[in-house]
């Protein structure tokens, strides 16, 4: 097999993103500070272009690079989610990076590269591309986390994130190795080995042909899940999340919360449907406990947080739990998979929004992190406060918002299956808790008086963040009120995987 125009076309979204990344970096290289204002536009343009090319791929379920990638609905939808997260984050960053002195090309370059990684991960159809996708994404994100390198917190976050990340990479890789072993050791009977193609050994569908009771498969799957669970921050692999989210610059946090989840959950769904269809129950059972633990721990820990970013980090853990519930149920009903897609999209939007607000309010001194610092925001910046309230409501799952629809979709599926009812009820209980801490923020913004001399920076020069917030808010409401179309796409996407 050689790489042809066809492959490149299918691969174009990733290429566009990477190209834009290179352009951003080089543009920065060969230009003075003046043109730096153009970087966001470049990156935005690239992202939009990538999104468009993704859309152009909608409906054609084809494989590229000899099956290494599969461009189908799932890939497109999750890719779009990643692009959306990127676009929003770029918007949010525009003013932030300038105020914190990291407005150089590499920032956008890394962001776009990570996005490319996520998009590729969403398309990955063999273990190797899964691995590479995750790695590209992760490495870029490590760097982004530490990019404000004169802030101790930032570097420390990067350090922790990196150590744990590399650690988990080891597990993931070992898992892949064992899966590979499982394929080859059992493949002889199936006659794959005789096939000239080596790459086919690593394809996900090859795993589907491995007998379920192969020990190597079991171990490999376990370690593979460990790696994935780490990336999405599921308990007990979540420990890095709060630190990384708190330490990273706000726009980056929003970015990684969304993009990483989009990519990894896409991979999980794909492997669940393509690689381990025959392990549905076991897979579901294992994740069910992870999901429950994740929802509980995440929300309970968030309750006592006073640092907004950290609180949102824990809340994101909680949401991971909910999504995992969806994935668990997906092993039974395919609607659940669609629900997962929808939830990820909703999550991307509202998270980007809520971190966007932090970026918007950041100033030279740094970010507003402590909840008390948001006191009285509503009286100084009503629009921002309103938007934040919207996002909080959405995260808490209060209608009519995207978050509510997402929860509704996922718990709907969970409740449908008697054996997952307990998950749904756990989730509901957890979201009661979550309602409380999201409320704390609203209370602070609206019902407390601003601290002495607390000046919230004005929004004039922050067109990007403002625009981003606006878009996120609209999307949050729209997804909450008329989700029909998006849901259709998600269903179609899932159909296309099967």
């Amino acid at each position: 097999m050689t790489l042809g125009a066809h492959d490149l076309q299918l691969f174009s979204p990733v290429l566009i993103l990477l190209g834009t990344a290179a352009v951003a970096v080089t543009a920065d290289l060969y230009s003075g500070k003046i043109e730096r204002g153009a970087l966001p536009f470049i990156s935005l343009g690239g992202t939009v272009a990538a999104a468009i090319s993704l859309l152009s791929l909608w409906g054609r379920n084809e494989e590229a690079f000899g099956g290494a990638l599969r461009i189908d609905g799932l890939a497109v939808v999750m890719g779009l989610a990643a692009c959306a997260a990127t676009a929003l984050s770029v918007l949010m960053s525009a003013s932030y990076v300038r105020s914190s002195g990291i407005d150089f090309g590499e920032y956008y370059g890394l962001m776009l590269t990570a996005a490319a990684g996520a998009v590729m991960l969403a398309q990955a159809n063999d273990l190797m591309s899964v691995f590479l996708g995750i790695e590209i994404m992760s490495i870029a994100v490590y760097c982004l986390t530490g990019i404000t390198r004169d802030r101790e917190k930032s570097t420390e976050a990067a350090m922790k994130y990196f150590i744990m990340g590399a650690f988990s990479t080891g597990f993931l890789l070992f898992g892949i190795a064992l899966l590979y072993g499982a394929v080859v050791t059992t493949g002889g009977t199936e006659g794959i080995l005789q096939s000239p193609s080596q790459s086919s050994l690593l394809r996900l569908d090859a795993l589907a042909r491995v007998p379920a009771n192969t020990p190597l498969l079991a171990a490999g799957l376990a370690l593979f899940l460990v790696g994935a669970a780490f990336k999405v921050g599921a308990v007990p692999f979540h420990a890095w999340t709060p630190d990384a989210y708190e330490g990273a610059p706000a726009p980056v946090t929003g970015f990684m919360a969304g993009v990483v989840k989009a990519g990894v959950f896409a991979a999980l769904l794909r492997s669940a449907t393509v690689a381990f269809p025959h392990l549905g129950l076991e897979w579901g059972g294992a994740l069910a406990f992870l999901a429950a633990a994740t929802m509980v721990v995440g929300n309970v820990c968030a309750l006592a947080q006073t640092n907004l970013k950290r609180l949102l980090a824990y809340s994101s853990i909680g949401h991971t739990g909910v999504i995992l519930v969806g994935i668990v149920v997906a092993s039974e009903t395919e609607h659940a998979a669609a629900a997962v897609l929808f939830y990820v999209i909703a999550y991307v939007v509202m998270t980007a929004g809520s971190f966007g607000l932090i970026s918007l309010l950041a100033r030279e001194g740094g970010e507003l992190e402590d909840i008390s610092q948001f006191s009285g925001l509503a009286s100084r910046r009503p629009a921002a406060a309103a938007a934040m309230t919207l996002f909080m409501a959405s995260l808490a799952g209060i209608p009519p918002t995207a978050g509510f629809m997402g929860k509704f979709l996922i718990f709907r599926e969970a409740i449908q299956n008697r054996e997952f009812l307990w998950l749904a009820i756990t989730g509901i209980a957890a979201s009661v808790v979550s309602a409380y801490y999201y409320l704390k923020i609203v209370v602070a913004m609206y019902m407390r008086d601003p601290a002495k001399g607390e000046e919230f920076p004005k929004g004039e020069d922050r067109w990007g963040a403002v625009l981003g917030l606006g878009l996120a808010s609209i999307a949050t409401i729209a997804l909450g009120i008329c989700p029909a179309k998006v849901l259709e796409w998600c269903n179609a996407a899932i159909q296309s995987v099967r």
Binding site: A378, S379, P382, A386, T389, A393, I398, P399, P400, F404, F408, L409, F411, R412, I415, Q416, L421, W422, A424, I425, I428, S431, V432, A435, Y436, L439, V442, V443, Y446, M447, R448, C482, P483, A484, L487, E488, N491
Partner: protein, 529 residues
């Protein structure tokens, strides 16, 4: 149906809210005006609901159905019948009054008005929604605006009150959320459409009941909990006094006038029709709780020093009557309790307005800070007395009709509860007059009160419509009842039939099971799993 009146009612306030929000912050006055006009417009639009309503007709009217999310069985279906039409109009009527009553708000007027208008849409939505999930969406959508109204423009302990309100409600309603979804699947109807669900859950013929006894119990419990919190039914009522005390005047008016009705309305519209058998099974408990609410609430009033708290507790008592009237499935009682919902909205709303009048002048609500007000504010005194009388159900006022019908109807079915509840009427007289006396009569004890001005034009404008209604309903209740009655009769007929039928079916099933395998018969201790 000709014009989409209900949709208009849902859209106009939100649009108005958007308009208000877009106004620049400086001109608060324009914001108020815009809000007022929007509210009035909504009211005008809602008038056809009254005029074009076909009284003889028990079915849903002004129905609009559109696909919402077909994939999930969600439909946008709205309509009103005799039960809800009065409440919708009550809402649209109270809203301009609230806006007027909030004229003295100076802090963040835009947000205030916007919150109110959004709240109005949500409330109307919950009254007209005929799709369970649609209802749930509106139901929860009320939370945030109300939270802000209490928490931002409220009194000293407003944050506590707001949180309490929010958490009580959300803890109550999430189980309902689960139950709704559970029904969607277990009913086998695969829809959230209320009518279809009801039919599916109460099959007419001999096809098996979709829910097991325990499942039905859990679902009913989930629904009842959500609504019981809102009503509030004892002992879930403690959020109410705090919320009322802290909320701004208009907030209290809306809270008492409409929000609490959500609970009773929900019981009536959803909890009972969906699970008639279970409702009948739990009716004794509900009745007992209602009676406790009546007496307990009245007693509480005797212990209060804060006027708003007193009135809040009186709400507990009044709504106890409403709940009592719902669980006997007697036409008179039910008509009474529906009317009583409206009455309570009017009387208690007016009471809160009266308190607000004093509060604006003296910035206190403690009874001990007043006395002899009748001397300085005679008209105010007259109004307060009238409202008080209507609240204690004096004949000739609206309160009498409601309470009398409820008690009369209940007595036909259940003697003791009716008798005990009737004592609430005596206590009611005791505490309300006690309040009125301590505020109005005696000598003027505080010199600050010497020169309080009497009611102003704006305050008249807020109170007059309510006064008119108080007597209108009291003297000519038929005008209102004949819109309610057909629905009520039809409703009770259905429910009673359903109860009978379901009980027979369960009997049969149990006998059958007992014959088959004695062990599998579901006992009351059946758990959720």
């Amino acid at each position: 149906m000709s014009a989409p009146i209900l949709s208009a009612l849902l859209v106009i306030p939100v649009a108005g809210a958007a308009l208000v929000a877009l106004l620049p912050r400086e001109n608060a006055r324009e914001a108020k005006l815009a809000a007022l006009l929007t509210a009035l417009l909504t009211f005008l639009v809602s008038i056809p609901l009254w005029t074009q309503f076909r009284p003889g007709n028990a079915a849903m009217q002004f129905v609009e159905t559109r696909a919402w999310v077909p994939a999930l069985g969600l439909t946008y279906k709205v309509g009103v019948d005799g039960i809800s039409v009065l409440l919708v109009i009550l809402t649209t009527l109270l809203m301009p009054i609230c806006v007027l009553a909030s004229w003295s708000i100076t802090d963040r007027v835009k947000e205030y008005m916007a919150a109110f208008l959004i709240l109005e849409s949500a409330m109307i939505g919950s009254f007209v929604a005929q799709d369970l999930l649609l209802f749930y969406v509106f139901w929860e959508a009320m939370l945030i605006p109300m939270l802000l109204i209490i928490g931002v423009w409220g009194g000293r302990r407003r944050v506590y009150a707001a949180l309490k309100f929010f958490l009580f409600t959300i803890v109550g309603s999430l189980p309902m959320f689960v139950a709704i979804i559970y029904l969607y699947f277990k009913s086998g109807a695969q829809t959230f459409d209320l009518e279809t669900l009801r039919a599916a859950l109460n099959p007419a013929g001999n096809e098996p009941l979709p829910l097991t006894v325990s499942a039905a119990r859990w679902c009913f419990f989930a629904f009842a909990l959500a609504f019981a919190v809102k009503v509030p039914i004892w002992p879930l009522h403690t959020w109410l006094p705090d919320a009322h005390v802290e909320a701004p005047t208009a907030g209290s008016v809306i809270l008492a006038g409409v929000l609490l009705k959500m609970g009773t309305y929900g019981l009536l519209r959803f909890a009972i029709p969906l699970f008639p058998g279970t409702a009948a099974e739990f009716a004794p408990i509900m009745i007992v709780l209602a009676v406790i609410g009546v007496i307990y609430g009245s007693l509480m009033c005797l212990a209060q020093e804060d006027m708003k708290k007193l009135i809040a507790y009186s709400s507990v008592a009044h709504l106890g009557f409403c709940v009592l009237g719902m669980f006997v499935w007697n036409d008179k009682a039910l008509s009474g309790s529906i009317l009583q919902m409206v009455n309570h909205g009017i009387s208690t709303g007016a009471l809160f307005l009266c308190v607000g009048v004093l509060y604006e002048r003296r910035h206190t609500r403690l009874l001990e800070d007043f006395g002899g007000i009748a001397k300085v504010m005679p008209w105010y005194a007259a109004v307060l007395i009238i409202v008080t009388l209507s609240s204690i159900g004096l004949p000739g006022t609206n309160g009498f009709i409601g309470e009398f019908l409820i008690l009369l109807g209940t007595f036909q079915v259940k003697k003791l509860p009716a008798i005990f509840a009737s004592t609430g009427v005596v206590l009611g007289a005791a505490y309300m007059l006690w309040m009125a006396q301590r505020v109005l009569f005696g000598r003027v004890t505080h010199e600050e009160n010497e020169h309080l001005g009497d009611l102003r034009g704006r305050e008249w404008a807020t109170l007059l419509p309510l006064l008119v209604l108080i007597f209108a309903i009291g003297v000519a209740p038929n005008v209102f009842l004949n819109r309610v009655a057909p629905t009520v009769e039809n409703y009770n007929r259905q429910i009673r039939a359903a109860i009978r039928h379901e009980n027979e079916r369960r009997e049969a099933e149990n006998r059958h099971r007992a014959l088959m395998t004695p062990l599998e018969a579901p006992g009351p201790g059946d758990s959720r799993k």
